[in-house]
Symmetry: C2
């Protein structure tokens, strides 16, 4: 499977403008032979909307997601994008996986970061699911979720081979460790691929780290962005998963009888 | 707390020679004002003994450990060292923490790596414990144990502020990711300190990676060794733990209701 990851400067509350960026990246990804384009957390609206999310949020079958699904079908590649999801009285920080075949997967962020996110969103109450796409077993997480090793481990134990993570990592010293050490470690300790697509630049009071990365089962970068807009491409070789699992057996040598979690 | 970590070339089955190396490093560590010296996995005997461990193993109250305890008391610093532990009919891959106050903590490796270790040793059947030393809450793991995020998480949830890891990391491409990404990630994702002391050089058919490291709660190296013998020193500032826990809340924002472990 060949995947692309878009690192993008969001346009605050400008769905039209963000959709145009995603469409351009999707077109480029198709030209590069990619099966899938990953974009950042809340890529369709921007991240720095605070109390405006309630007004801009749409249901998972609303026009924002329907347009994304139509683009995925038209271009023939899957697109993952974050958006604020309206569900009755509450708003989730969600991401959809829109398949080229018209399929749709929805994920809601479970670990909300900081008081602003907690004020704007409801955390997920459902475990992350693994789904099939073009013969690969895939899981979704959003930003802070992936910083908890339990999340990727849960997906790996459910069979995931690729974990896709839209993110909005702030510009801060710790973000070098998160992007540079932790994402590769998640891939390494579970013998799978992780793709992590960040926002970049400035948006209102927020500034973003960039540092999007696609990491392989040996923990190393297949591709890595700097601080500016970028489109990463990586060809994922499933044989690397088998090699890693034969070398380290991280999923079969666990000792749950000794853990106190 | 100031700690030292010894990266050492083991002398195969030469307890006298290995003890002399540990004694020299302990003397140096005291001269540098350290409270504690960490040494590698099976540092007292060497790691590459295969079926000879059964003959060389000693109980935790045998002469090998008693001599280490006497050294710790005499020099006034704690010493952590790995040794093959005889317990009735079985042998464990163990490590002791010998306090300057005469206290002793024993840890047995829970995750054995590969067929040779499994042939030589019995895996632990007890969860790792956290203990107090000079006002710090400390946990022990050995080598492969720390590659499972569940182990450090379990210690962190039990209050650990410092995890000490004697190791014997083989020379292999994946070891760059383990030493360079994963150890820092364990510190980062649990907001604590991790010290990881490796063997180095060659021993029989084994060659070791080196790359010993002391990592802080921000995931970054406080000290790092190259491939050769080295003595790392780092002064651990407990305020870094509080800062990290306030920034990321990795221990309090978990969602165990959603994990499938």
């Amino acid at each position: 499977m060949k995947i692309a990851a878009l690192q993008m400067q969001p346009l605050s509350a400008d769905i039209e403008g963000n959709f145009a960026k995603i469409e351009a990246a999707a077109t480029a990804a198709v030209a590069m032979g990619a099966d899938l384009l990953l974009t950042p957390e809340l890529a369709l609206t921007g991240y720095a909307l605070a109390d405006r999310f309630a007004a801009i949020a749409e249901p998972a079958d609303g026009p924002m997601v329907e347009r994304l699904r139509a683009l995925a079908r038209r271009l023939g590649l899957a697109i993952v994008a974050g958006f604020p999801e309206r569900s009755g009285d509450v708003v989730y920080n969600s991401a959809v996986f829109a398949g080229a075949d018209g399929s749709l997967q929805l994920y809601r962020k479970a670990h909300l970061y900081g008081p602003q996110e907690k004020a704007a969103f409801q955390p997920s109450s459902d475990p992350a699911q693994v789904f099939d796409y073009r013969g690969w077993r895939i899981g979704l997480l959003i930003c802070f979720d992936v910083e908890f090793p339990e999340t990727v481990r849960s997906l790996a134990l459910a069979g995931a081979e690729l974990v896709l993570v839209p993110t909005a990592l702030p510009r801060a010293p710790i973000s070098y460790s998160i992007s540079g050490r932790m994402i590769g470690t998640r891939a390494l300790e579970n013998s799978l691929f992780v793709a992590y697509a960040d926002l970049c630049g400035e948006e209102g009071a927020c500034s973003y780290h960039g540092g999007s990365v696609i990491a392989g089962p040996d923990g190393n970068d297949l591709a890595r962005a700097g601080p500016a807009e970028a489109l990463l491409i990586a060809d994922l070789d499933r044989a690397e998963i088998s090699r890693a699992r034969a070398e380290s057996e991280y999923l079969t040598e666990r000792r749950p009888d000794l853990y106190r979690l």
